[in-house]
């Protein structure tokens, strides 16, 4: 399910050293890298070595970047095993005490060492004893950069939301003119396109890992760039820079998400034939039929007009002698607003679900209904061999 890390194929070491921590206790053991087994076996093993057979656990591990990532299924378990060099550090928590917010891409970059992380996990929490956890309103979440709209896009494409809000990090990428090959009924056709040409080290684009050099830019905030000049696309991106949503055709098509036939987009397989389907317009994929098929998914789909009304940065006004403050919206009804009629609200927190498969499932516990989750698991499966144009 996790698509965002390439699986190294040839590992020389056969044994993985595991250091597992639960509360204040450490356990060390080793696993065979080539035959890690299934997740439930591993889960049993952990309960066994820590001698906590009846405790429900959340399992997390520190990956190579120092991020705390969850282990809760076969995929991320295998991933954790295969990428561990040389030590796999595990952090176990009681499920009822779980601190979901600890998981995240920058959770450990902020706190640097796993030791510090452990301190976070172990810190006394006043809310700990108060189930159920109070979930804030969506607007209180800090949106993060993510892949969105997986279910409505062709699997060859990826829609990435670079959320710059309040961050000092530069967006940090360059675009260039280029040409791409399209499959048309007449055969292969070379058409001009816009490509990502460079990443600025340490920039938002690079640090999210969601964009790469030579990815072809297809849309900017829901608007197709075909027929637009490099300068126009540059200006569009800069004008949308506070909430930039780029649809790309990744140069590397190995990490694509492939959907089953019964999913919203109706993809059948990862055959290269799909690549001719270059009409990535959002509107095409949100046809009423598709909506009806996947009603639970449609809410997370990106709607440009909502973004416009919701996520716009507010201007500041400084009155004489006063403080700078946000400019409020004039009372509704005073005038006809240019924004579109009310549509289902765009709820950014739901994007977390698909931003990073493994993490998403764990964070969505409690916020998503169980059947929905089941369906999602069914709909998304990995196929690392898809090569498309």
């Amino acid at each position: 399910m996790n698509k965002n890390h390439r699986v190294p194929s040839n590992r020389t070491l056969s044994a993985v050293e595991v250091k597992s921590k639960f509360g204040a206790e450490f356990r060390r053991f080793s696993l065979d890298r080539s035959k890690p087994g299934r997740f439930d076996e591993f889960y049993g093993l952990l309960q066994h070595v820590h001698r906590i057979p009846n405790v429900d656990l959340l399992v997390g591990y520190a990956d190579v970047h120092g991020d705390l990532l969850p282990i809760n299924n076969d995929d991320n378990y295998h991933k954790a095993i295969s990428t561990a060099t040389p030590l796999l550090r595990l952090f176990l928590q009681r499920k009822e005490e779980a601190d979901n917010s600890a998981f995240g891409t920058d959770s450990l970059t902020r706190k640097k060492s796993p030791a510090a992380l452990a301190a976070v996990l172990l810190r006394p929490d006043a809310n700990r004893k108060k189930p159920p956890v109070i979930i804030s309103l969506p607007r209180d979440f800090r949106p993060v950069s993510s892949i969105i709209d997986v279910d409505i896009l062709p699997e060859t494409h990826r829609r990435v939301r670079l959320y710059k809000h309040g961050q000092e990090k530069p967006l940090g990428f360059y675009i260039r003119d280029g040409s791409s090959v399209r499959v048309t009924p007449q055969g292969l056709e070379k058409v001009p396109g816009i490509f990502i040409s460079r990443m600025v080290p340490g920039g938002l684009a690079e640090s999210t890992g969601l964009l790469a050099v030579n990815d072809e830019v297809l849309e900017v905030n829901g608007i197709e760039v075909a027929g637009k000049s490099l300068d126009q696309v540059t200006d569009m991106m800069i004008a949308n820079s506070h909430n930039l949503i780029i649809t790309v055709k990744p140069a590397n098509q190995r990490n694509n998400v492939v959907r089953n036939a019964n999913s919203g987009g109706g993809a059948t397989s990862g055959s290269s034939g799909r690549s001719s389907d270059s009409g990535t317009s959002f509107y095409g994929y949100s046809a009423p039929g598709a909506m009806a098929m996947t009603p639970s998914h449609i809410i997370q789909n990106f709607r440009p007009e909502e973004v416009e009304s919701e996520d716009d940065e507010e201007d500041l006004v400084i009155e004489a002698g006063g403080e700078a403050k946000l400019i409020p919206k004039a009372p509704a009804g005073a005038t006809a607003s240019t924004s579109m009629p009310a549509l289902p609200r765009y709820e950014p927190h739901l994007n977390l679900r698909t931003s990073n498969g493994a993490m998403a499932t764990s964070t969505s516990v409690g916020s998503l209904s169980a059947p929905d989750r089941g369906q999602e698991r069914q709909n998304l499966e990995e196929d690392g061999t898809v090569i498309t144009l």
Partner: protein
Amino acid sequence: MKRFRRHGHDSQRDKLKQDLYHFNKTVEHGFPHQPSSLGYSPSLELLAIGTRSGAIKLYGAPGVEFMGLHDENAAVTQIHFLPHQVELVTLLDDNSLHMWTLRAHQGLSELLEIGRFTLTGPPGALPCVTRVTAVLAHSSGELLLLGTEGGHVFVVEVPGFQELEKLNISVEDVQSSVPEEYIGRRSLECVEALQENPLNPRQVLIGYGRGLLVLWDLDRRCALQHFLGTQQLESVWWMEDGGSLLSSHSDGSYCHWTVSTDTAVQAEPDKQETPYGSFPCKAISKILQLPTRHGPPFLIFSGGMPRASFGDRHCISVIHSKTHVALDFTSRIIDFFIIREGAQHKGDPSALVVLVEEELVVVDLQSEGWPVIQTPYLVPLHCSAITCSHHVSSIPLKLWERILAAGQLQNTHYSRKPWPINGGQNLAPDPPQRDLLLTGHEDGTVRFWDASGVCLSPMYKLSTSGVFLTDADPNDNMNQGAEGEWPPFRKVGCFDPYSDDPRLGIQKIHLCKYSGYLTVAGTAGQILVMELNDEAAEQTVEPTVVDLLQGQEGFRWKGQARLDVRDEPVTFPPGFQPFALVQCQPPAVVTAIALHSEWKLVAFGTSHGFGLYDYQQKNSVLVRCTLNPNDQLALEGPLSRVKSIKKSLRQSFRRIRRSRVSMRKHQTNNAAKLQEINARLEAEALQEMELAPVQRKIEARSSDDSFTGLVRTLYFADTFLSDSSHNSPSLWAGTNGGAVYAFMLRVPPVERRMEDQVTAHPVKEIQLMHRAPVVGLVVLDGRGVPLPEPLEVAHDLARSPDMIGAHHLLVVSEEQFKLFTLPKVSSKTKLKLTATDGSRVRRVGVAWFGSVRVEDYGENNLVILTNQGDLHVISMPALKMQIHYPCIRKEDVSGIASCVFTKHGQGFYLISPSEFERFSLSARWLVEPRCLVEAPPRTHSSSHPDHTHRDQPDGAATEHRICREDTEEFENSARQVMEHALLNDEQVLQEIQKSLEGDQTVLLENNMKTKPSVGQVLSNGD
């Protein structure tokens, strides 16, 4: 249900839009860019100009204009009207011939192309065999004789372009009868000239490049006489009596030959003369001689100057009796012709019409001193490069007359003769109102043009340089030649691209049409306030220096110095006279001005801040520094990166010039050489581009970007700034960094205006979070209508603004339109442009659109021009896109930057340094040429034709031209490649332009296209 209703409303709106908006490019004002040929029809009294881009333009009486464009993008090298017809033939650089006609349709004539033709030689023949070098439109009106590079003459029937093979005159036919010893082993070279015997149309004279002239009988198909010239031939002229010939040559000589059928071969000319003699001279490219009824003839020729001392002059010499003048033009001579008196155009020469590369000059040959006649059209807008423009609609008659009167006093040196070219009828209705277009120029002048109708005619010229001390000597009169100088030069024409001091350049203009106050601002931070005075006056202008940095430490201005002001009193001629001067410190380009004639205040801004000046009390009211402390670039000189681009540009031009020097005409291997150089240069340019692949950084705007403090727009408004019950005067300023500053002004009542101080208090500051440059600020009244101009209400020309309903502030940034409530700032409506289509606002204006169907219905709308060259109309206050039209190519950055809107939905933009295109967005207001040209009645039978003067097919000049064009085309293509590379990056362009301000002569010499927009890209705000 609701949906349905809305739909109905939309279709109603669509209908209304059709009544309000209609896009048309109506007329081109000014002088055609890069003219390449001239034609004239004496019978139609129409003048035709062909350009290097394949356009032809016809002009007759003022207002009679036609324009046509060849599909081929090739230079028009020759234009010939068919005698006594409304047809004309054009020859293009690609050797194709085109037939055009003026066809009347519903009472109006239009110029149409009705046929095209390319000579095809015998199979296997070299291309030079059919390369046309000389064209003769035979007086019968049925034949076209085409002389070619191979020396053949082909005869073609017109208008159908039927080849009449049996009439062709091959070079072999001619050679056979020429003495063997003359021919030798050399070829006769190309046909340079074809002339018809003015008395016998069946006889034509063929002039060959080597110097041989052959008199050919078309009926008997044989040579009647040979004239064995030995000098390279440039042109021939057949005297009116048919008895003698003139031939001009490349060594600066001309020969006189006698036609007589007695002697088959004339080996020596009767007379050979080199007018500017003894030392080697340049070619006389065209010569003609015309008799006068009582007295000696006029001899007129172009060129022939002594090579070493005056080889670079562009001269036409006119010799009449004892009078000999060498008219000295400031640009290259394309062609010339003479207008003759009388119904049959056979009388005395009355005017000499000269087309030079940058203007049309008409010299009155009948008045004493041969003064120049002022042209009513084809005015060289670019006599000094245009740096900005300003349009004022509906000028009150009083002001109009005063400006006209001031202008007439300036035009005393022009001839009083009426305009001599009067073909066609102007059927356009009188313009509905008086409109002024003001253009600011690089030399510090402001020119006032009557822009009411089809003809953009000059009214008045204002010079600001008198206020300042410049290097130029005020007594330096260009027209004065030294006594007894030889050749007897006389400067003519007004094209003068050389500016004394680039700091004088005008950047912003604002005219109050009610009070006659004018303010102009320039490149070195100078702001002049002027008043119209009908009398000359002597006065001293005291400058007020305003420090916009307000003592910010650590800044050092590395740009130009402030202009020095004359201490002693200066006499200003009648017209606009300066009475107040503000000089900004640092002396950076003024990027925004606003004038409020009722409050007697002027606001101005540069890249460092803005200020408010009270021109009644002549003191500074307010200074506000907008400079970001981190912004070093705003104080830096040109960047090193830009310098290197400038250097490479310069080197490229040098290379071109060097290669041009070595080129001689008629060298056969030239073309190949040229191509080679051409290809090499292009490859070099491309290679340079590849080395630096075009990529764009994607980064959010930040407050630390450079030039965020640059003031883009200033605005005065009487509105509710701090509380909703009391309105007060206010000043608004918008910057490049997306900030809007608002100041409340206290203007004393009129009776205490001289004593009490004007004060300004900061009240609001708005920071747009998208940080795009603010290019426009408008306050809408309670009805959603923009506030009227100062004094407009006082003159009963506008409804007083609604002060009961709430006012709104409309902020136009390059990316968005936002409407805020006042006095409490809350956002109400917005429209995003860049986020949705990637284009950015370049120019903005407010215009009133009247409905064509309902007399009293109209709307105030916002008109914008984007960096993609598209025009959009946006409603106010709802901020909805109404309509959009593509207007300018997006590569044409200077065209986009030059655009000005009128208050009635029209606009102007530069299509070349010398031409304004006029467009209209309004369905109700339209200014376009409507004219009729009718075929002249044929009064003579074809056997005895009326041999009027025709524009002579000037083979020599043509050849010369072709050669020049090649080099220039080659220069062009190189320039295009470079421009393409540069113009893609506006940032770079801005920087180049800024850096060039200090070094303009190089570009001016090369007549660079981007020239006129110096400083404009930076100062888009209006």
